[in-house]
Assembly symmetry: C2
């Protein structure tokens, strides 16, 4: 009988999913027992090439974006404090590319965050960009494309950061099983980009008599709690301990179902086997796969989210915030096309990345209209918008350096009556504290209910239908950081904002990151 | 009874074709009768935006690359000597784009030829590039994407250049019918790019009692000849006169069949109607559509090509050439992948466009190894290559300015026994004279058979299976010019060379054309 660390990451979004799991079985023991040697940080130098490849993960051949001929991309293993250098060559024939290192804070290297047109120019075909950053904290992370909808094309992989040499995990286990969940579309991403609606998914694992003890969320320890199944949204990552206390020769189903929208696809299935058999030798479990909970059982979903609280020793949030930003999530229309908006502005990105245009104070590089911190106080979140017409804008929030900011993500009714979707949001460059959740419209008085005692640190949050979620963070990382719904088509439809902080403290940005748009013009017109 | 100018242009390439014709019926009278006013050149200023759009040309919806929401793109009408300015905005989400103006010589504006990585940098998403060029000569031209396989994605349209104001056509007609032939794939171009084999097509029009008198080829008058059907290869354009001498209410089939490879798709059909009916009012012709000739009836194909001779008054070629380049067309392998090669080198393009790197003498911008003017004298063109292994290279030929060059395109057996395909080649920046054709291996003595009396001027040529075709041109246009098989997948597989001439005479290249790769670095490092 052994115990294993079971890590689960989510990248899903969409309704035409036909297959949801990629299972990696890496049984290398991770536990490091109290060595007294000094921790010495290492540099991992990787040469990666992004190109197209045929793959048939669900027995239907399709083009995928692969890294070094692998799909999903190679797993990065590092220790906290190590430096990761990825020389990324773009071998796509006509498209730009970037890679975002999801969960890595990029302290001092905001240009390496991998957000196209926010932190850097897209890497041009046949060119190479060097991502160099520190794996700042142990945790279960992943990386993925962040340009157009290249994530859905298969451009993603795992980034596992272990504790420093000589440090101990807070919990013991004998091995590690990583599971990366992702949607799989038969439609190509160019077709998808033209107009699919989308959906969050729920990862439901009923491990057949295996209880899961959740110990980590988004790279932060949480107060352990034990469940039979879990909710996991796009952008989330969790670690759970499981104990192999069943019969040694038995195999067990893992079942993954859709959440938040009536599924049109069957659950995805994986097998948990105690034996290190090859796939061909694997026998199907005798029991039928477990049924996943109803897609609209929100009570169950909320109950899971509410259980996530900080582990002892987790830093506490500042007692008060300097600024409160309320972001109303609505579905709207522009010229008949459906968009997603924040405070009635749908985000579009400029052709010059913000990091460069702000750092060098370039004029006219983006729409200068400042977005609002509030929406109408009388907005009825329970009904479709009275005025569904929206506009586009930069949604760029300039945040005072080192200030403490609260953001309330307010959900509302979509365009159709009685529809309000789940949205998983992801903040770049930061962890934040999840201060609380509420039903209906957020009110000033709700601040008194904020959990400032054991609020969990996360980089993703979820807003439930018709509800709100409150977060707090300290703007202490000079750079420009995306904050957006992690459902890729929602982001593509404008569901995001951009936060700029301490721009004057950003050191010289590598030329390769800004050799497009107005920053390229600036560089070309520079005279010694 | 009226006579019409029937112009036909070809853009096809591939075997998964399901539909081949786009018919434009523009019955505006073109004839201009001897005005004595002075010709005054006009500037046509166009604002174009390339974006994706759904279209169902064969009743199956698919994504296409459209211009201003139109597929095919808008038709440009200009007169000889006019200036065309196209401000092209790239609204594709992640891909670069360029447009090549097929048949326009770009004298003095080599950066406007629209060949990605040869004449310019790909235009980045959300950026705009200005194509400004002179419509130097009356003719039937077209434009199309020239980056990756974007042409197959639907990025093309017509460019009709009429004679100058006050000038007469050499022939009279009452109206004009333009027909642009193109392949239509259900597979997306990204999937295609990974590895389709391909094929030239033959346009066969049997106009049901309508004889066609061919009067123009690739923008040059030819000695008129009359046929029932014609061969047309990718990149070709022809004008034919037809006379509406049948019953006024009858409709007539136009039938288009595949040529050079056993077709797997039915012939494409169009209807020639004398009445200006809307499509819904159109009645199908009573007769069955005409059967197109056998796909492998090469005798018939050759007979058509051999009939194309220069019209009286066409400039004659110089009597002798200063240089003879022989290019052996072979199918080869690199690491098992099938390629097309010239003199056993398969062309790859660098990330810095040649025009900029040559003009500014940048080091290391491309593979400097010079390609050869000859291949082994004992090469057996009737058999598969003895050594099928090939390498990649720049295939850049530096040509002495104002020199006269002969190029022999030598066909050969492909990788499989008893297979030799038809290849339609296209030269940018030039017209050339087609001096002759031959069977088997070209020999020095064949020079004596060259037609220097009434050789037709063209910008496309065809090589027949196991045969050769000889062309002559004067290198009098400063720039870097692609010369390649016009079958898009063949070009993608390396079937092309690049000709550089008079580079030192190229005036200052617009920055937008060279703001990538090493030329961008050069611009960024320039100190006043």
């Amino acid at each position: 009988m052994k115990s294993f660390l079971f890590t689960i990451m989510q990248l899903t979004s969409e309704k035409k999913r036909t297959m949801s799991t990629s299972v990696f079985s890496c049984f290398a023991t991770l536990l490091v027992f109290g060595f007294s040697s000094l921790a010495s940080a290492k540099t991992h130098h990787l040469h990666w090439e992004v190109s197209y490849m045929f793959a048939s993960p669900d027995c239907q051949e399709k083009l995928v974006m692969a890294i070094n001929g692998q799909f999903p991309g190679p797993t990065i293993h590092a220790k906290a404090g190590d430096t990761v250098v990825v020389e990324l060559k773009n071998s796509l024939p006509t498209e730009g590319v970037v890679i975002h290192w999801h969960g890595i804070k990029q302290i001092g290297t905001p240009w390496a965050d991998g957000t196209a047109l926010i932190s850097q120019c897209p890497i041009k075909p046949d060119e190479t960009f060097v991502y160099k950053f520190q794996a700042d904290k142990a945790g279960t992370y992943f990386y993925h494309g962040h340009y157009g909808m290249q994530r859905a094309a298969g451009l993603y992989g795992l980034l596992i950061v272990d504790v420093k040499e000589g440090e101990k995990e807070k919990f013991k286990y004998d091995g590690e099983i990583n599971m990366l969940l992702s949607d799989w579309y038969h439609q190509d991403i160019y077709t998808q980009m033209v107009g699919l609606s989308s959906n969050p998914f729920r990862w439901i694992g009923e491990p057949q008599n295996h209880k899961m003890t959740i110990v980590e969320a988004d790279g932060n320890y949480v107060d352990p709690f034990t469940v039979d199944d879990m909710d996991i949204y796009s952008g989330d990552s969790y670690s759970a301990l499981i104990t192999t206390d069943q019969h040694v020769s038995s195999n067990h189903w893992i079942s993954v179902g859709v959440r938040g929208r009536q599924p049109k696809t069957p659950p995805a299935l994986a097998i948990l086997s105690y034996l290190n058999n090859s796939q061909s030798q694997l026998e199907l479990p005798k029991a039928t796969p477990p049924t996943t909970p109803l897609w609209n059982d929100y009570t169950r979903s909320k109950s899971f989210s509410y259980k996530i609280l900080a582990a002892k020793g987790t830093p506490k949030p500042p007692k008060k915030a300097d600024r409160l930003i309320q972001l109303l999530n609505t579905q709207n229309r522009i010229d008949g096309f459906i968009k997603w908006s924040l405070n009635n502005v749908s985000m579009v990105l400029p052709s010059t990345p913000y990091l460069g245009s702000l750092r060098y104070s370039l004029k006219g590089a983006f729409d200068q209209k400042k977005p609002r911190d509030r929406f109408g106080a009388n907005y009825n979140v329970m009904k479709p918008p009275i005025n569904p017409n929206t506009t586009t804008g930069s949604n760029l929030y300039e945040i005072k350096f080192n200030s403490t900011v609260d953001i309330i993500l307010q959900n509302a009714n979509a365009l159709s009556e009685n529809v309000s979707e789940i949205h998983p949001w992801h903040l770049h460059g930061h962890d934040f504290w999840v201060l609380g959740y509420g039903e209906g419209l957020f009110r000033k008085k709700d601040v008194s209910r904020f959990n400032v005692e054991n609020a969990p640190l996360r980089n993703t949050l979820v807003i439930f239908p018709y509800g709100w979620t409150a977060i707090r963070f300290v703007a202490d990382n000079p750079g420009v950081w995306a904050f957006h719904c992690h459902i890729e088509p929602h982001l593509h439809m404008g569901m995001g904002v951009v936060l700029a902080e301490g721009i004057e403290l950003v050191k010289e940005i590598p030329k390769d990151a800004i050799s497009c748009g107005k920053t390229a013009n600036m560089l070309m017109n520079q005279h010694g």
